[in-house]
């Protein structure tokens, strides 16, 4: 079992990232807190060693995505668009950012992880494929389609970028 110091450090370090992942998976802050507890409980009880910080971060991303999916399955909720959570999170957010997050949250479910990992975390398709345990080509396809959808919704020339 990991020490209190290790767990608190991890909470400080990864809470924001997990909050973002929860944002596009879950419905409200109560669900988020439950999932947070599950994730950090897993971390507290995880006996494995991380090679480096990147390895640890990738572990948290994978565990967070799985925890969100498991949570939704466990309570038989439909993974609906997390507008309630978005509203809670964006009270003080300007309209521009809100519209972008809303557009991302309106993407098909399987697109959201890829968009977040690529556009926010900055991972290349290879790493995303490893984290999500999918094919690299699938990641490319998803990114391409997601880009098209976001361009249609949000407009702007900066959606026409090359493959990651």
């Amino acid at each position: 079992m990991r020490s209190e110091y290790e767990v608190n450090n991890a909470i400080e370090q990864y809470a924001d990232m997990i909050q973002r992942i929860c944002l596009y998976h879950l419905k409200n802050s109560t669900d988020t807190e439950d999932v947070f507890q599950n994730i950090f409980l897993k971390y507290m009880l995880y006996d494995g060693n991380f090679v480096d910080k990147e390895h640890e971060k990738a572990w948290f991303i994978r565990v967070s995505i799985n925890a969100c999916k498991d949570f939704l399955k466990s309570i038989l909720r439909h993974p609906a668009i997390s507008m309630e959570l978005l509203a809670e999170q964006t009270i003080e957010m300007d309209l521009h950012h809100f519209e972008i997050l809303e557009a991302v949250l309106n993407l098909p479910k399987k697109y959201r992880d890829v968009v977040y990992l690529h556009y926010y975390e900055g991972y290349p398709a290879t790493t995303i494929a490893q984290i999500l345990m999918t094919k690299e080509n699938t990641v490319y396809s998803i990114l391409c389609r997601a880009r098209g959808m976001l361009k249609k919704k949000l407009g702007g020339d900066d959606f026409d970028e090359s493959n990651p």
Partner: protein, 253 residues
């Protein structure tokens, strides 16, 4: 686009309340699990202790509880109590000669055959085995299989073979009676036979008599025909008793 999405997501943060709440929850969970681990360890410790005690009790019972008896009688009367492993738990002398003999011999913990050889072949025993001495082995056990095995074992002992020992078996119930009368099992069985011919004989009389003297008196009574239907030496004690003789012809029936 990268910047726009990045900037939008960058606005999202976990609240300090959420972090504190999760930290607190983890702390509670840690304490709960520590208590659970300690409780489990205590339970395991108790179970292990019980296991050790049970194994210890069973081991003690196996090693220390006598289940069979072998009485060695010439004039020295010595009785060996054997555990389930056929090892000597205790050796008790039932007369002064026996006491003298056991003073210099330790047989506790030894296999019964080795103990018999040690006693019978010991130097202080040799004077008692000379002439027409009768060396008798009387065994009693709760199990007939064990009795048969012990009889067979005694027959194969050098101490028995070399001195023409006779071996008998008798009822395990006779052990307590013999001890109450202050006699070894073998001598008590011989007394029971003699008393069939002569009811004036007492256990005190037998205590001071050697086995050959008791045998001689039984033989004399049988020769006189006073008791034509008389049974063998051990028969008064155990109707199905078997008795076997080795070497020197001290046939008792």
């Amino acid at each position: 686009m990268t910047n726009r999405i990045h900037d939008a997501f960058d606005q999202i943060h976990a609240s300090s309340e959420l972090k504190s709440s999760v930290m607190h929850a983890m702390q509670l969970e840690r304490e709960r699990r520590m208590v659970s681990v300690i409780t489990r360890r205590k339970a395991l410790l108790v179970l292990c202790s019980i296991f050790v005690l049970v194994i210890g009790a069973l081991g003690y019972d196996m090693v220390q509880t006598p289940v069979s008896y072998v009485s060695i009688d010439v004039n020295p009367s010595i009785e060996l109590a054997l555990n389930r492993l056929d090892r000597v738990v205790s050796a008790t002398a039932y007369n002064e000669d026996g006491n003298v003999l056991l003073k210099d011999i330790s047989v506790n913990g030894k296999p019964y055959k080795a103990a018999i050889d040690l006693i019978v072949e010991s130097k202080p025993m040799q004077p008692y085995l000379s002439g027409n001495a009768v060396l008798s082995f009387t065994i009693a056990s709760a199990s007939q299989e064990k009795e048969a095995a012990l009889l067979k074992g005694i027959e194969s002992c050098a101490g028995c073979k070399n001195h023409g020992g006779e071996s008998y078996r008798t009822d395990i119930g006779a052990v307590d009676e013999a001890h109450q009368k202050g006699l070894s099992l073998g001598k008590y069985a011989a007394y029971l036979t003699l008393v069939q011919y002569d009811d004036t004989v007492t256990t005190q009389d037998c205590q001071s008599m050697s086995m050959s003297e008791i045998h001689d008196r039984i033989q004399a009574h049988q020769n006189d025909g006073e008791h034509e239907s008389g049974n063998g030496l051990m028969d008064s004690c155990e109707p199905e008793a078997t008795h076997q003789q080795h070497g020197n012809g001290h046939q008792s029936s």
